[in-house]
């Protein structure tokens, strides 16, 4: 090993601002999650959504059914939510847990960054993956159907707007839940299991209680009901649920934001310097 004096000169380099530092974290976190698991989950989501939309829209045009309903078909299904849940667990579970576990969070927070910068960057990276999985395939499917001449450009644009609305709401909710549960543990595996467990247990138990009591208000706590309600409204279809789609969207977005705040609170309790 050779030792030589560093060539750097103090104070000679202009510093970039906080947005650039935050962007560096987003970039790093996004690339870090580009492993086989998330890529496979996202690819599967794209394949299923694009195929289902294109085939359904084709048959709707041939048979004479509702094109809007055809565009909406994947978003009203459990499979789409389940696929996004898999993407959330594979991408988001380790977003904070890995840094807490390796104590790399010390290095982030001892730099000129606020906790909100760090958390915002992590949320952006996780959110970006979820938007790619949740919004991307719907928009591409709309473009494909328009390119194949199954629907007009205006119909395709309306469908894409619906995809964006539903996908963004669910991306915000899942980002919040991923950050909150990831901040509570040092192991991404535990966070991943917790993401699945929490979402599935709440959804199933609310569904059961609703079936017994018939209280429609409970459905706002049912993720599947909320997503279906929002999707039906976004694509101009009648909802099978007695819930207000706007209220459902607000519930999901607010829950995501509150969960992100929980993650911020948890991070603020971590000792950056020290054992």
């Amino acid at each position: 090993m050779s030792i030589s004096a560093p060539r750097y000169v103090q104070g000679s380099v202009p510093r970039v601002g906080r947005p650039s530092r935050v962007l560096a974290i987003v970039e790093r976190e996004f690339r870090r999650r580009a492993t086989w698991g998330p890529i496979f989950a996202v690819a599967l989501t794209w394949f299923i959504v694009v195929l289902e939309v294109v085939v359904t829209v084709y048959f709707a045009t041939v048979i004479g059914g509702s094109v809007s309903a055809a565009f909406e078909s994947p978003y009203g299904s459990v499979i789409w939510v389940l696929l996004l849940l898999i993407v959330t667990a594979t991408v988001g579970a380790g977003s904070l847990a890995d840094d807490i576990g390796s104590r790399a969070i010390t290095l982030y927070l001892s730099r000129p960054l606020r906790i909100s910068d760090y958390l915002g960057a992590k949320a952006s990276a996780v959110g970006a993956w979820l938007v790619i999985a949740g919004v991307g395939p719907g928009c591409v499917a709309a473009a494909v159907t328009a390119a194949l001449g199954y629907v007009s450009v205006s119909e395709a644009l309306a469908a894409a707007a619906g995809c964006v609305a539903v996908g963004l709401v669910l991306a915000i909710f899942f980002t919040g839940i991923a950050l909150a549960l990831s901040s509570l543990t040092r192991k991404s595996l535990y966070a991943g299991v917790a993401i699945f467990g929490t979402v599935l247990s709440v959804t199933v138990s609310v569904g059961v209680v609703w079936g017994i009591t018939g209280n429609g208000t409970l459905l706002y706590a049912d993720l599947l009901a909320d997503v279906q309600s929002i999707a039906e409204a976004a694509f101009g279809q009648p909802s099978p649920y007695p819930t207000d789609p706007v209220a459902s969207a607000i519930v999901l977005v607010l829950t995501g934001c509150v969960l992100a705040l929980l993650a911020w609170w948890r991070l603020s309790r971590i000792e950056v310097v020290g054992e």
């Binding site: 090993m1 050779s2 750097y8 103090q10 510093r15 530092r21 390796s102 104590r103 969070i105 020290g274």
Partner: protein, 310 residues
Amino acid sequence: MPGELLRVESVTKRFDQVEALSNLSVELSPGTVGLVGPNGSGKTTLLRLLMGLIPPSSGRLSVLGLDPHREPLRVRERVGYMPEHDCLMPDLSAVGFVTFMGRLSGLSKEVAIGRAHDVLEFVGLKEERYRKIREYSVGMRQRVKLAQAIVHDPPLCFLDEPTSGLDPAGREEMLRLIRILAKLGGHSFVLSTHLLPDTEGLVDQVLLLNAGRSLAAGSVAELLSQRSTETVVRVKGDPDSFAAALTAKGVAVRVDGSDLRVDLPEANTRPLFEAAQATHTQVRYLGPSVRTVEDLFLSLMGDGRRGSGP
């Protein structure tokens, strides 16, 4: 290096019922500072306060002329921090990691890459810089931690137990690197450690902490000279009669285990030998009681214990 490095004015930090720092006041000028004390002495709390990570319960701090509580980000732009514990990102190569840390400190991507290569070469990891950190030994990891702390060329660097976990050769190498950096000029270092030998020949100022209080602070040379009037004497024979004979000659003596600590005015050793002759004892050892920072610390700790004793 003109100016002020750190100023701590009557700072107290409480965590619930525990007072981690008690009315601490110290002013240190640029250079290499040893922040020394046993575990639980308040070193870590002081570092956290100086980096603006926690607010003081009372009092004021200043780092490079900035208030870390009011302007934490501006302070952290100007400081580097080498943590004690392992906190690296094992999935990255050393050059990728140090580049990333440079970017987090405010360097542009291009500049951060260039500096990452420079500092990794400096710490002796030129050949291994593209290997994943997970493959590194403890010594190499410590070097990477030092590299990330200096990548943005901060005027002040906090090094928390930099020799922790290193073998003797690794420890020497790490201290040598810090010594080189200190000699380059333009950089100040605060070396937090409970390993007192690490500070020898490296720090020019010291802050000795114990139980959240300052035992001593300031220039090492001045502190050592202040304490050096005391002489350690070991005798063969009856130390009590020897001590009594010295006391009779007006020399202050105190017994410290098997040693006699004698306060000789103007380093005049004549009373010692007169007392030895009178009491038929042999002087077997004679030397200054404080010669190193470790001696100084132990001496001050001893004073503290005696002061708080029954």
